[in-house]
Amino acid sequence: MSSFLKRWWWVLLLVAVGLGLARLRFDVDILNLLPPDEPSVQGLKLYQRHFTNARELVVTLRAPDSDAAEKLAGELAARLRQQTNLVEEVTWQPPWMERPDQLGELLGWLWFNQPPGDFAGLTNRLAPDQLKPALDETRELLATSMSPMDLARRSFDPFNLLTMPALTNISGMSMEQGNQMFASADGKYRLLYLQSAVDLTSYRACESWLKSIHAVVAELQSGPAKDPWKGAVVRYTGRPVFVEEIATSMQHDMSHSVSATSLIIAILFWLTHRRWKPMLWLLALLGLILFATLALGALVLGTISVVALGFAAVLLGLAVDYAVVHYQEALAHPEMTVPEIRRAIAPSILWAAITTMSAFLVLNLGGLPGLGQLGSLVAIGIGVSALVMVMIYLPPLFPERRQPRPNQAPFHWWNYFIAPHEPPVAEIASTGTTSHRAAVRLTGLIFLSACAVLCFQRPGLDRSGNALQPAHGEAQTTLDEMTVELGLPPQPLWLIVPGRNEAEVYQRLTKAEKLLDGAVTNHLIGHYLLPDTLWPRAKFQTANRATAEALGEKGPLLSAALLDAGFNTNAFVLTSELVRTWSRAGASTSVIWPTNHVSQWLLKRFVARTPDECLVMGLIYPATNKVDAAELTALSKQLAQNHALLSGWELLGDATLKRVQSKMWLVVTPMVLLVLLSLWFAFRRMTEILLGVAVLGLSGVGLLATMVLTGWTWNLMNLMALPLILGTGVDYTLFIQLALRRHGGDLAAVRRSVGRALMLCGGTAVAGFGSLAFSSNLGMASLGKVCAVGIGANMLISVFLLPPWWRWFRGDRGRGTSDKSHGAQPAFYCGGLWRLGLAGARIIPAALPKAVAAGLADLYWQFQRQRCEVVVQNFLPVFAGNKPAAEKAARAAHRNFAAKLIDLWRIESGEVVRNWLTTDGELEIIHAARRRGRGTLFITLHLGNWEHGGLLLNQLGIRLTILSQAEPDDGLTDLRKAARARYGVDTLIIGDDGFAFVEVIKRLQAGADMAVSLDRPPNRGGVPVDFFGRQFVGSLAAAELARASGCALVGVTIIRRPNGYAVKVLPEFVYDRKNLGSRAARRELTQQILRAFEPEIRKDIEQWYQFTPIWPPGK
């Protein structure tokens, strides 16, 4: 990549960071972290949006006695009302206490909502001839009643208009309930409701506004009238305080966690390396990574939840790994240049990063948007970290090692993903059996102890929503105090009923009421309060309009009657307001609502309206003190079907957890697959993959046992630890096992380099997460603790137990497999896949699988470069060392091989090929050779579709026997043997069995037709020949068989062309059988044969399928 392009990549990154910063917004609403389609979440969101006033602050005041409390509350209200730039409204006692006349509108409106029969009855009661008797009765009552309520009411309601059926059920408007909102029973504790004059849209705005309010209160408390304030306690709660507290505590958590982690990183780094420059550079880059991640996260996600900001702690713990591993490797190998170190380490870092990123991205499938966002943010951060640490960290620290060596092979971007070709481990470093035994014993001890603990108990699952709530701060403490002081029932649930209009809401409300009645009967709930009597009835209002108009005109008549009966104008205040309301109602054309301050204040407690939506809220009281969310699930579902949303924090946790549980497989399955895939790509050795899985398993049971012993439980937040623990576990196993490979299993060397680095990484991660344990958010705290234990276990097991395990397994078989590692057949060359291929070939038309196979071949070329490099090396002599040409041909060979494989599957699955491209002259060579009756040995190469030769001969009436090695899988050997038999070709497995060779000779002598390929070096008994100008260990098989049987030797190639299969029969190889007694003559014949094939190979090298090394090593 040119430096120009490199620079542009960085510029692009900077632009993205800039754009992200411009988009960066923080969201403090915890509910946005939860599944939006969950009824309890929807209900809570509606509740928060419509029924908890975002601008309403609740100020509580406790004084030594009730008189003082009332007096101080009044003074405070008066002072706050003066702050018109801060406070729009202060309510410190029921509004109707200050403006009782305003209740008239509400009462008139309630009459208007009555059934038409009841409302029409009023016209009779207020008929002119009925007024005097009614007023006489009132006077009698006022003279004789001893009820203070009657006296008060009838004084102001002389026509007794307030007696209506609906009102008797309006418990929400009872005197006790009204006062209960403002003062405790003993009157010593009072509440003031403040409406902010400014929009509190951000937590900064909340913080600033609250500071101003605090200042006003403090000024009053310390002013000239400060004496009465002695012993008085003022506290604050309400949404602005919660918002400010949550955001501030999150900010506090983040800054403390980041500071503490950074400090620990610095200390550990210093203790380990005693160098300032790398330490400071590391800290600077970590800061840069956090900043860039936040910006890129904002670019991708837009608004970032404050909970998702917990990514910082997660990220620091991971990002530092990449730097430290790099740095440690640079120190351990002073002879290596920075590009070489990068080349050596980058694949493990990048694969580890990809795995961890994928694991975190999978969180998006978990059904919790918040965790998904956190996962996305961490994934972005890990990507940035890997990029920054791989590319930037080392060069400034080792300026003299920055440049690559002059003779260094060109380095492509994909090399970062492919582990360099490691020399095979010639010998496992001598091992002390003591350390093996100790490791095994320790492993057993940990595993058995953990299992023993888990047999008795397993970590529980916290079904409540506590993990999502902030820890008890001032706002929550004050709210709890309010609940106790005002004698409010604990933990009511909310029923939110939305609808497009009043009629729809009423319909839903009525249905909900029936369901709730059933729930009360079944003791699912204790009782409920639905303001259905206060909800406007559109039908009634329409029917009552004419009556209202008539009643609205009765004002003068009623006033005159009152005065005649000895009342004065004071007695008419309420009546006149009622009449005015009826007059307005009579003139209305649609559903009307009361509009004055008192009405609005009352209604907004349970009614919300927007231009296109109406909502009403009811309260559901559980049957017991504790909400059993599981029991309410069915009720919640029934209500939700009717668009009534049952909600509350208690329900939230359970519902969300159920969602998480139901989607867990969506998260866990890909996560496990990712881990396995990543381990596979990194190791491609089953033993090492299983060792990696073993680390994760042991760490997992260790974590679970620790959780049991410490009494921790799983919750919505700490479930997020799973991908992190998996990710770090994979990281550590990758680093350690690849280091073990690099160092030939030298434990001391591995521990000195990567082991030391991982101890530092793990230590910082544990410290970072440990610091989260002190978070003010319970969920974050539990996440921190679980992560600290899980990552700590991963680190300790990887560094201390994994190396002995690795040596234990590699000590037995490692050498053998290592030697053959690049010569072995690919893992997919197995019976299962072959059967699948055969089945697919039978069903699917050829074009589609060929296209897919070509794509897969390209992927294989990209991601299996080590194996592909084998082909390139095989081709190099053909191109006289021209590597680009060899690479080009090798890549084409991979694609062609994919097509050939499809062809082969089709033939083996029974398809008949007839489009042979050949001439009679060439076929005559075959017939001539056979006519001699001494048997014919067809010599072929791994060129083109050589297997098709058997089919061709079968169509020519010749039954061929193929001489072959056993396939890597016995099942595959049998499968292929049977397939060939179906199209008339026999198979003779030779292997190393000398008797098999005798059988071949016998058959040839009997005139059989057999085929053998000669372009691969034999395991033993080969002779050096010249092949494409390079020494090649050729197989003497053909020459030996010729000597033993006198068979004809015919060379054949079958090349795939666009219009068919081109059959090329080389002129028969002529030999003197007597001369073949000498090995030199046999070598010469072999040389002659191979040389004859060279032009054919050159011509169609892109169909020469040599996937195992064919040239002698070291040349």
Binding site: S66, M97, R139, A152, R153, T168, E176, G187, N568
Partner: protein, 239 residues
């Protein structure tokens, strides 16, 4: 169920009380007479002594209600019987309202409406209702210490053979309901002459007693709370 009417009452009282409290002259006036009240302390004490030793008393009364919504006061007549811890008021002839006070409850019966209201006296929450009930007791005080716990003596005025004591609730919340209580008694025989409650909104309720007899046996059935079966009993303070 106490309903929205109560708010009207409480609200009106609050407004009126605020107006009254705003009048500075009230304080000047009260301060002046409090200084003279000490002169009548011995007579007041004597009256309480008589009350303490009373086994019972009964009498007729004329109740005058001066309401702010009416141009003229409403006058009605009734009878009262008092025993320690119990009393019975009958208002109207025939009785329109009967108030029965038991140690643990107060029963207000409306014979014409065939309705009764029961107020348990031990479970009344703090607030205007509790203050109102306390004031009902205060209008028939028997113990000076207990009375002064809740009331402050504002003034004492002697006219002819009658001593009139003005009392003010000590609780600010109670004062929002009743601004002043007046008790007048005859200084010759220490029988009650009148009680008056001045409400915060300016309304007044005055009872002038006549034909008071002391320590006569009272038929216990007068204090019985049994209601006819066709009466409706409600408990307004019960939630």
């Amino acid at each position: 169920m106490v309903s929205i009417y109560a708010h009207l009452a409480a609200g009106k009282m609050t407004c009126a009380f605020r107006a009254l409290r705003g009048g500075f002259w009230v304080f000047i006036f009260l301060a002046t007479i409090v200084s003279r009240a000490a002169d009548y302390g011995s007579q007041f004490n004597k009256w309480f002594e008589v009350q303490t030793n009373l086994q019972s008393w009964a009498g007729d009364f004329t109740q005058t209600r001066t309401l702010t919504v009416l141009n003229q006061p409403l006058v009605s007549h009734g009878k009262v019987w008092v025993k320690p811890g119990q009393f019975r008021w009958e208002l109207g002839q025939p009785a329109q309202t009967i108030v029965l006070r038991q140690p643990d409850q107060l029963l207000i019966v409306y014979p014409r409406l065939k309705r009764a209201e029961k107020y348990p006296l031990d479970g009344v929450p703090t607030g205007p209702m509790r203050d109102a009930l306390a004031l009902l007791d205060a209008s028939l005080p028997r113990d000076r210490a207990a009375m002064e716990k809740n009331f402050q003596l504002l003034s004492a005025t002697a006219t002819n053979a009658t001593l009139q004591m003005a009392l003010q609730p000590r609780s600010e919340s109670a004062r929002k309901f009743i601004g002043q209580v007046v008790i007048a008694f005859h200084t010759n025989d220490f029988t009650i002459a009148a009680t008056e409650m001045k409400f915060a909104d300016g309304s007044k309720l005055r009872n002038n007693f006549a034909n008071v007899v002391l320590n006569l046996p009272i038929d216990p059935r007068l204090f019985a709370t049994d209601l006819p079966t066709n009466f409706t009993l409600v408990e307004p303070l019960k939630k």
